[in-house]
Each structure stands twice: as structure tokens, then as C-alpha cells.
């Protein structure tokens, strides 16, 4: 399983501000290794962010999101102490889900 995400969720006014770093190769499928063989594509295809059982952000990604992806976004309705859960699935079916507690800001 991939390394855990680093998630920071904090209050910014009445919004929850989230910054997340994910650990993933995001291999494009266009790179060749030392022997000249093409390294197969291996990249996160879907990302879902939930809070209180509700999806607050979802995304479809292609191979041109950078390695070790980073995202920063904001949503309303969260309070300190509540949890934000971020999940991803990649094109090989690997998945990862991590959560963070919203801090006071």
C-alpha cells in the first residue's frame, strides 16, 4: 500500500481549508527505463474528499498531474474536531484513504 497522505485541514473563516500531499509515482506510461522498455502508466485516476458523509470534492485525474500530487481547496460546513477523509484509486486498482481532523485554524 502507498505511503500515507499528509493532510492539513484547518478553519479559515467559516470555511475548511485543506492541503493534501499524496505519495504516488504518477507514471505517465511514456517513460522508458534503462533497458529501453516502456514503464507502464501508473497514476491516480479518481480522488474523493468527504466530510460528514458528504462528498465535498471529487476529481478525475490523468497522467499529467505531477508525481507526489498536491491539492489545495476549501469547503463550507466543517467545524474544528470533525474529520475530512480523502481517498484515491489508481489505474491499477490500488487505493488509499486517509483522514485528518479539522483544526481550529
Amino acid at each position: 500500500m502507498a505511503d500515507p497522505m499528509r493532510i492539513r485541514a484547518s478553519m479559515s473563516g467559516d470555511k475548511v481549508e485543506v492541503r493534501v500531499l499524496m505519495s504516488h509515482e504518477m507514471e505517465t506510461g511514456q517513460r522508458k527505463d534503462a533497458s529501453g522498455a516502456v514503464v507502464p502508466a501508473h497514476f491516480i485516476q479518481n480522488v474523493t474528499v468527504t466530510h460528514g458523509g458528504k462528498t465535498v470534492l471529487s476529481a478525475q485525474w490523468g497522467t499529467s498531474i505531477s508525481k507526489n500530487p498536491f491539492m489545495h481547496f476549501r469547503f463550507k460546513g466543517g467545524k474544528p474536531g470533525e474529520k475530512v477523509t480523502i481517498s484515491w484509486v489508481d489505474n491499477k486498482g490500488d487505493r488509499r484513504s486517509d483522514e485528518a481532523v479539522i483544526s481550529g485554524g
Binding site: N46, V56, A59, Q60, W61, I65, F70
Partner: protein, 156 residues
């Protein structure tokens, strides 16, 4: 996902059918909630073709979409980009990199209550226009920004 699974998921209306299908080995448990991935759109190779695949061919330019990114990226592997839409009822934001081998980079769904604001990092193969394509209230809008990609040197 293969055709059999797709048909099954479309036809299924209750968990009964899916359970049977899972038992038959046609789908794996969890596939029922497998998320969509718009392969056709991620395969396109031009701004126009991507718009078409997204159903956004009638997109109009809008000054209400702000793209924040450096004019010059020291390295094309990691280019920071922020897109913010001031258009009311924005519900999707897509990032397109015109000169990349595949134009579509990402497509974000913005539910109500979430700011139409996203920062991420993209890979750019070469100097190119970046397009932000926004869907708001059923209509499509876009903005563009050119980012130059350089080879920075030694990386110290």
C-alpha cells in the same frame, strides 16, 4: 472496465442483481461503486477535441476565471497552478494542457458548498497554453494562460 460489466452496472437497479453478478465473478465486490473515468476525454490531443469530449464545444472565453501560475516554470515536471471561478453555480473545473501528449489533465467536480477554487501541480511537456474549462449552470466557459517551460540547469 469491460463491456459486460458496464452493461450489468447500467441494468442493475438493486443490490440483488449486483450480488448475483459478484458471485458469478462478473464484477468484483466494490466495482459497483467503481468511479467513472472519462477515458475518451483523457485520450484527446487538442483543445478542440478535449472540449468536444467533455461536451463543452460551445465554451466561451470568460474573464471571470482566474488562472494563477508562474509565467515561467523552472521545471516542467511540477508546475503549480490555481484556478478560481467567479462564475455563479460553477460545478466543474477542468485543466487542459494544450501541447501535452494528452490535453486533459484533470476534471474536478465542485459540489455546492465547496469553493470553485483548486490548486494543484501539473506536468508540462513544453511551453504551452493552459486552459481552465468551467461548467456553470449548464454552460461552459474557459480562460487561458501561457506558461513557458525552461530547463533550469543543475538544480542546486
Amino acid at each position: 472496465m469491460n463491456e459486460k460489466r458496464r452493461e450489468l452496472l447500467k441494468a442493475a437497479s438493486g443490490s440483488g442483481v449486483l450480488a448475483l453478478a459478484a458471485a458469478a465473478g462478473l464484477i468484483k465486490p466494490g466495482d459497483a461503486f467503481a468511479q467513472q473515468w472519462n477515458k475518451a476525454a483523457f485520450d484527446t490531443k487538442s483543445f478542440a477535441a478535449t472540449l468536444k469530449a467533455l461536451g463543452a464545444s460551445g465554451s466561451t472565453e470568460s474573464a471571470q476565471i482566474q488562472i494563477t501560475a508562474p509565467d515561467i516554470a523552472e521545471n516542467g515536471a511540477v508546475v503549480p497552478i490555481t484556478i478560481e471561478s467567479a462564475i455563479p453555480k460553477t460545478d466543474t473545473i477542468a485543466i487542459l494542457i494544450e501541447k501535452n501528449p494528452n490535453t486533459l489533465s484533470a476534471d474536478f467536480d465542485i459540489p455546492a458548498g465547496t469553493d470553485p477554487f483548486i490548486t494543484t501541480r501539473i506536468k508540462m511537456a513544453e511551453t504551452s497554453n493552459i486552459y481552465a474549462v468551467v461548467k456553470a449552470d449548464g454552460k461552459y466557459y474557459h480562460a487561458a494562460k501561457e506558461i513557458k517551460v525552461t530547463l533550469g540547469g543543475c538544480g542546486g
